[in-house]
Assembly symmetry: C3
Homo-oligomer: 160 residues x 3
């Protein structure tokens, strides 16, 4: 009898810094306990994977507009509460550093070092006009079927 | 030894179009992989099940007000991000059609065709003053106990 | 062969009354079915555990500000939808009482009576400057590792 592998999957749907931090803290914790961990980035969650700098790409009008209006990378995300026109995220980053806790970019780096599978949802990339060149290097690309395959094998499955 | 049935349950609490789309894409994907799938609609998620047209019903003052203020059906839901006074949902619908992806009403239809169990939470229906006549035909009605029964049997349980 | 214990865990990340009510209804339902239930309060979810009255404590400037700006206890939480500057929560509380449903403070009390493990996330308590004296009596304190331990044993794991 083969024992079921311990696994954890997280769908990161939300594009807010506090939710992304929670997702990565759980994911990094699970990886430290030797779980196989997948984070599946879809909809606004994809913004956490964007590179800081704009990438020159051929895009239609609507895709360009989406690209400009959505936050570019983990440092630019807002908060789900107490955002105060962008003051909130600055306060949270200040507080994280004061407590020697990892900031979101550092949590993402740690996740990659720990071998956490970061998967960008190709369907929502299409919808929002995001292209591979704009996203972090070293991530995977897949659809909902791949997510469901991982989730069926995992014990802990969260939607954030 | 009886093998555990593959199952997926989703609590749809949120009343936003993007979250409902994500819920139905995951649910329809899981059903395509032969999972038993249940979506349990509670609180604002119930609005995704409302019929487009108002239904004449005897209601108290507060129930009438809730009924008027909440979005009537899947086409009227807002977005959790970039709603822009209702422009956002129109853009998303445009983009879905452009990419030959299913819109929310189509995803709901597909879910019913695939035999996904759509369950309206009777307790929150009471609270919000929603009656069966106002909701989609062919759905089920149950409470949290029924949800927990399904969730205990399922591998993938999400709260959206 | 040892049978797997039925367990349910909920991460309560959100600080809104409607989401906290949903979390406690599911948790209390699961406890009634004899599940081992843990609610792990993190980020804004911690506000549901705060005492109604301010507690005199030595705090830094930023911690004091967080303490003042965040809602103090379950009666002060807003709604995720239709908050209307605080009118919404009052309407929901009115509707709960009208239907003889439990209000959030009553749901929390019931959870404690049923032996549901209420765990405050120590890491986010630090970040938000919340101290044990400000939170409900009889709760536990732990980090993400303890949560993951419980979640790995549970069948139903939700992030709310």
């Amino acid at each position: 009898m083969v024992e079921q592998k311990e696994g954890t999957t997280i769908v990161l749907f939300s594009g807010e810094m506090d939710k992304a931090i929670a997702a990565f803290i759980i994911a990094n914790g699970a990886a430290a306990y030797d779980h196989e961990v997948t984070i599946f980035f879809t909809f606004w969650g994809l913004n956490a994977l964007r590179k800081d700098e704009p990438v020159k790409l051929k895009k239609g009008w609507l895709e360009k507009m989406f690209g400009r209006m959505m936050p570019r990378g983990p440092k630019k995300l807002g908060l789900s509460k107490m955002n105060y026109m962008g003051m909130g995220p600055k306060m949270i980053q200040h507080v994280l550093k004061k407590h020697n806790a990892l900031t979101l970019p550092q949590l993402i780096e740690l996740a990659q070092e720990q071998g956490i599978k970061l998967v960008a949802c190709t369907m929502t990339m299409d919808l929002l006009g995001l292209q591979k060149e704009e996203l972090l290097d070293g991530i995977e690309y897949a659809g909902v079927a791949a997510y469901l395959g991982d989730a069926s094998q995992a014990k802990v499955n969260l939607f954030i």
